[in-house]
């Protein structure tokens, strides 16, 4: 029974199948919000309200010719999209979605899982860099260099912001952090600044406007993905969608009080909270223009990182005097 449950967990919910369906839905949601903010209709025709458009895009890409550049590292070039998708999906398993029960925790909820999750969410950046590097295209290489430069910008503020609530809750376990804030919902307000910083950093991690510098099409064609096409590009796109869900889930678990109430109520919590985070990401994407790579590093070290430290300071003061 336990094995069956584990398989169910891995393959159906919240594992692979749910993740694929939900991440494509999130892409649709993001595209629709982005389009409506731009006075466009967004996806309309495929499926009801265009819901199947992301799926249709992926199927279309799967049917396209699969090209590997002559001078590219063939093995790396082909295997990276699969590894990337696997990594992003793994991140999802660590979220306290279903197994929210502190008495009988499932094996993938353990002290320190927040660190592991943050680590796993950093890996896609490396995957992008390697993908860019192994395609040996000039534009990809510039994209790859920009991916890493971007990482130096957002990673530290993201870590500082996400670890704030953990310090407040006195735990390195996502389920416990979420539980702590469910008991004291008002304390979530103390993390508001950290939440905003984390949203901005997540935007940078997902490489969306204003941080879509590594694949800025008007500057360096496709950037990281210049040489990718067909199935591999489809996997990368799916990977970014999954990463978006996992990132939004992390923020929801840490800053928005997690997903209490068992399987069904918890599911509703999960959907509403992740969609809220994605909604914020979409707005951020719609109201800004792409900035330069030097401006990103400047911005994150001049504003984001000090603000994140300020947030930590607030939390420490609260912890010392109030709690």
């Amino acid at each position: 029974m336990a094995i069956l449950k584990t398989f169910l967990y891995l393959l159906i919910y919240p594992g692979f199948l749910f993740l694929l369906v939900y991440s494509t839905f999130c892409e649709w949601f993001d595209r629709k919000v982005f389009a409506r903010l731009q006075n466009r209709m967004g996806p309309t025709h495929t499926g009801r309200f265009g819901l199947l458009q992301p799926v249709a895009d992926i199927i279309k890409l799967l049917a396209k010719e699969d090209i590997v550049p002559e001078r590219a590292d063939r093995k790396m070039f082909s295997v990276l999209p699969v590894i990337g998708l696997a990594i992003a999906s793994t991140a999802m398993l660590l979220l306290p979605v279903w197994h929210f029960s502190l008495e009988r925790p499932s094996p993938n909820s353990f002290p320190g899982d927040i660190i592991v999750l943050l680590y796993i969410l950093s890996l896609p950046t490396l995957i992008f860099f390697l993908a860019a590097w192994s395609s040996t295209s000039f534009f990809s290489e510039i994209g790859g260099a920009r991916v890493l430069t971007l990482l130096f910008g957002y990673e530290v503020p993201l870590f500082l912001a996400v670890l704030g609530p953990a310090i407040m809750a006195g735990s390195w376990r996502l389920a416990e952090i979420a539980h702590f804030f469910q008991q004291r919902p008002l304390l979530l307000l103390a993390n508001l600044l950290g939440f905003l910083i984390a949203v901005i950093c997540l935007q940078a991690k997902l490489e969306r406007t204003p941080f879509d510098i590594p694949h800025a099409e008007t500057e360096i064609v496709g950037g990281t993905f210049t040489e990718y096409s067909g199935k591999k590009l489809a996997l990368f796109r799916l990977m970014i969608d999954v990463e978006m869900v996992a990132g939004a889930g992390l923020l929801a678990a840490v800053f928005l009080g997690g997903f209490p109430g068992g399987v069904f109520v918890g599911f509703v919590h999960f959907v509403i909270k992740t969609l809220f985070v994605i909604f914020l990401l979409s707005i951020l994407r719609a109201v800004t223009s792409r900035i330069r790579i030097d401006q990103v590093v400047n911005f994150s070290w001049r504003y984001l990182a000090p603000l994140a430290v300020l947030q930590l300071f607030i939390i420490l003061l609260l912890k010392g005097f109030v709690l």
Binding site: L37, Q38, N39, R40, F138, I142, T209, P210, D212, I213, A216, E217, T218, E219, I220, V221, A286, V287, T288, S289, R290, I291, R292, I293, D294, Q295
Partner: protein, 400 residues
């Protein structure tokens, strides 16, 4: 590490073929070189074989955005040769279309610039409002792009009361929207961060390198043919020349949006004072031998047409200097010491109309890089030699 990057001839940032060869040090541009000649169409040669009336429609097709600029410039020159003056109502309608075209061109540019900077929301909004102008142009002339409203001695279509009212109504909405865009363009932090201080061109450089149009005006050089050498009814129309002193892409953006607002004033002035009378007069079709130069302030800058007549109904020579050509020298200066990320913005900021400016093609050997200029018969001989031994495809079928 120094390396050279080819931007173009095919690149997502470029809507037309041109080759920008950048020498980069990391992300910083060390040197820039512009190669032209990917879209030589031989328009000037074609013009020599057509009558003046036919050439109006040919010159209209030099550019797909400022089509009216070229046809008006040509018509101005021919009317000088014919020694005729179009009736006032015709002049008003002709330059009404000019100003509408300037508005639609500048709004189009703003959208493109926003897209180059990755600001797609502004792009979508601007292009939505540009449709109002396109609708007006379609209402006036029957076409959205190639208006074909000019003719020798006036224009081909008249305006009625309802159309004048519709134009004025649309203007009110457009003015409100344009002020909003001016506000965004000059204040939205991430957008301004991308534009400010990028692509610097000092006033001295702008004068030395003969920059024209908004590029020069953004460097605080108040040149505008409408003011300096008034044609049509511009001498009696009150308007100001918009300039900026920031000398960068932000200045070029602000100048263009301000010009849009000034154009609304001009259009309103034209519509309120539209004289009665005919819109065109009959003109002779054969000018006396002679030559004429017409200047016209196109949305991109000064447009010059030189026409030489030999007494027949066809011009002996037509020379077109499109405004983009005047800005290339300045562009090379602007690109130097910028960032790789700024290339599309700097280049887009001159509002390049590459195909309008193409007047020559150079033959480059792909293997040796050797360049030579050949005449047409040599080119044909080369082609014949290349395909001499190629087997005939007997069973060749069209793929559809």
């Amino acid at each position: 590490m120094k390396y050279s990057v080819p931007i173009g001839p095919q690149h997502p940032a470029l809507k037309e073929p041109i080759s920008l060869r950048m020498t980069l040090d990391g992300e910083v541009i060390q040197d820039a070189d512009i190669r032209l000649g990917y879209n030589h169409r031989g328009v000037e040669k074609v013009a020599e074989g057509k009558t003046y009336l036919q050439n109006i429609y040919l010159t209209e097709r030099i550019c797909g955005i400022c089509s009216h600029s070229h046809s008006t410039c040509f018509v101005q020159g021919v009317e000088k040769l014919l020694e005729v003056e179009p009736p006032r109502r015709g002049v008003f309608i002709r330059y009404l279309v000019s100003e509408l075209e300037r508005v639609h061109s500048h709004l189009l540019w703003l959208g493109v610039a926003a897209h180059e900077a990755g600001f797609d929301s502004l792009f979508m909004y601007v292009w939505r409002d540009r449709e109002l102008i396109m609708d007006l142009l379609e209402m006036i002339s029957g076409n959205r792009v190639h208006y074909a409203i000019n003719t020798l001695g006036g224009v081909r279509r008249d305006l009625d009361e309802g159309q004048v009212k519709k134009i004025l109504d649309s203007l009110a909405l457009l003015r409100k929207q344009s002020e909003y865009y001016l506000n965004i363009g000059a204040h939205e932090p991430s957008f301004v961060g991308r534009l400010a201080g990028v692509g610097l061109l000092t006033k001295e450089q702008a004068v030395d390198l003969c920059a024209v149009g908004p590029t020069a005006r953004a460097s605080d050089v108040p040149i505008d043919v409408r003011k300096d050498d008034p044609y049509g009814m511009y001498g009696e129309t009150p308007f100001e020349v918009c300039t900026a002193d920031t000398c960068d892409v932000l200045g070029r953006t602000v100048v263009r949006i301000k010009e849009v607002l000034v154009s609304y004033d001009i259009i309103e002035h034209l519509m309120r004072n539209l004289p009665a009378g005919p819109v065109a007069i009959r003109t002779p079709r054969r000018p006396k031998p002679g030559e004429a130069v017409a200047r016209y302030e196109a949305p991109r800058g000064e447009n010059i047409h030189y026409i030489k007549s030999n007494g027949t109904d066809k011009p002996e020579r037509l020379k077109v200097r499109a405004p983009t050509l005047g800005n290339y020298a300045a562009t090379v200066e602007m690109l130097k010491s910028g960032f790789l990320a700024d290339i599309p913005l700097i280049f887009a900021a001159i509002d390049p109309c590459i195909c309008c400016a193409e007047r020559t093609a150079t033959l480059v050997d792909a293997r040796t890089g050797e360049e030579k200029t050949v005449n047409f018969s040599t080119l044909r001989a080369l082609a014949r030699e290349r395909w001499k031994n190629a087997p005939l495809k007997k069973d060749a079928v069209w793929p559809f």
